[in-house]
Symmetry: C2
DNA sequence: ACCTGAACACCGTTCAAGT
DNA sequence: ACCTGAACACCGTTCAAGT
């Protein structure tokens, strides 16, 4: 019937394969980190390796596919943050949401930070990164306007700082209390420590 | 003659092999990072792979061997720092020396931070780590006594913070200016920002 | 005692062959 | 058009065999 009208439709099994790959990759990356074997992912997805490569030519492309699926969660959290009155509190909560996002898989912060550099092209993670940095810059600017953040740093700087916290977190070398202290170092590093506006 | 008297001497070619391995590893790690191929290292050293494993059973053991050779440089730098009058300045310089040390090879900070956790045993990097953390704690304590560092954090916390800066540095995603801003975040994060003692 | 290279198991990536 | 598994090159690690 409509086999002709829907000319640029995605083929049924292609869609299914893509979903299976993402699902298998998710579980493997969650347990093994971003360096998990792609062969194993393909096997669990029940497809040949080459099919995986056809769908996601690089590991970064696969990561980007996974992160896109997680993006709604982050945006939902972002909407809740936007309802806050205090811009300093909003910035703090956003940075925490960002940290959680960057800590999803072990080793995730590294490709993301690298992608944040290559402003040019090619890297499939660059776009997601740019969005995150822009958001961070917005929250930072709002906090600064309210006298709750210092001058001389930008969204990219805070993105790097949060990425590095996520990196420490993923090494599992720091317990919760130590992570909290690390966050407090970063917080009083970008903020106007204690004194409000004045 | 004295072949019998020097009973627990290191065999000549063993010493030579060890030196060759360290030399080859140094150049490979410098160019390829800590994940460089050990097979390639062995080949460049002109020995069989198994000999490398005999000398250094794990990659961490090899790293520890290399870092021990670099330790004098760090201690020399440390002695210069100890001559400074201002404990805050001393702490800042020490953290920078530490950052340089942790940035020697790409990917070095990760095994070191992991080793800093496993307080127990087995990991050959744990000892070097513990020393670095102790020194950091000493400089921090001195700075705090002079009212130049805040309460509530310890040497281990600063070690983590510096490791994470070294990690960002090694990703090569941040230029010199961005790294300086990241350091400034950490600095005003642990310090009593601006106001001295009071 | 120490060294060696072959052996095994694993992985990333590509490509000729299938449907 | 899409999928497949075999193929190639590489690596970490161990072990039987050499000296």
């Amino acid at each position: 019937m409509n086999t002709r009208t829907t000319s640029r439709k995605p083929r049924a099994d292609v869609v299914r394969n893509r979903a299976r790959i993402l699902e298998a990759a998710e579980t493997h990356f969650l347990t093994q980190g971003v360096a998990a074997s792609l062969e194993a992912v393909a096997k669990e997805a029940g497809i040949g390796v080459a099919t995986l490569y056809r769908h996601f030519p690089t590991r970064e492309a696969l990561l980007a596919g996974l992160l896109n699926e997680r993006r709604d969660e982050l945006e939902k959290r972002q909407r809740r943050i936007d309802n806050l009155e205090d811009p300093g509190e909003a910035l703090r909560r956003w940075l925490r949401a960002l940290e959680d996002y960057l800590s999803l898989y072990n080793g995730l912060s590294e490709p993301l930070v690298i992608a944040s550099k290559t402003s040019g092209s090619s890297n499939p993670l660059t776009r997601s990164c740019a969005d995150l940095i822009t958001s961070t810059g917005d929250y930072l600017e709002a906090a600064r306007a309210a006298g709750q953040a210092r001058d001389g740093i930008d969204g990219r700087d805070l993105f790097m700082a949060v990425s590095s916290v996520a990196w420490v977190r993923n090494t599992r070398a720091a317990d919760d209390a130590a992570l909290a202290r690390l966050r407090s170092i970063v917080e009083s590093g970008y903020g106007r420590t204690g004194q409000t506006a004045r």
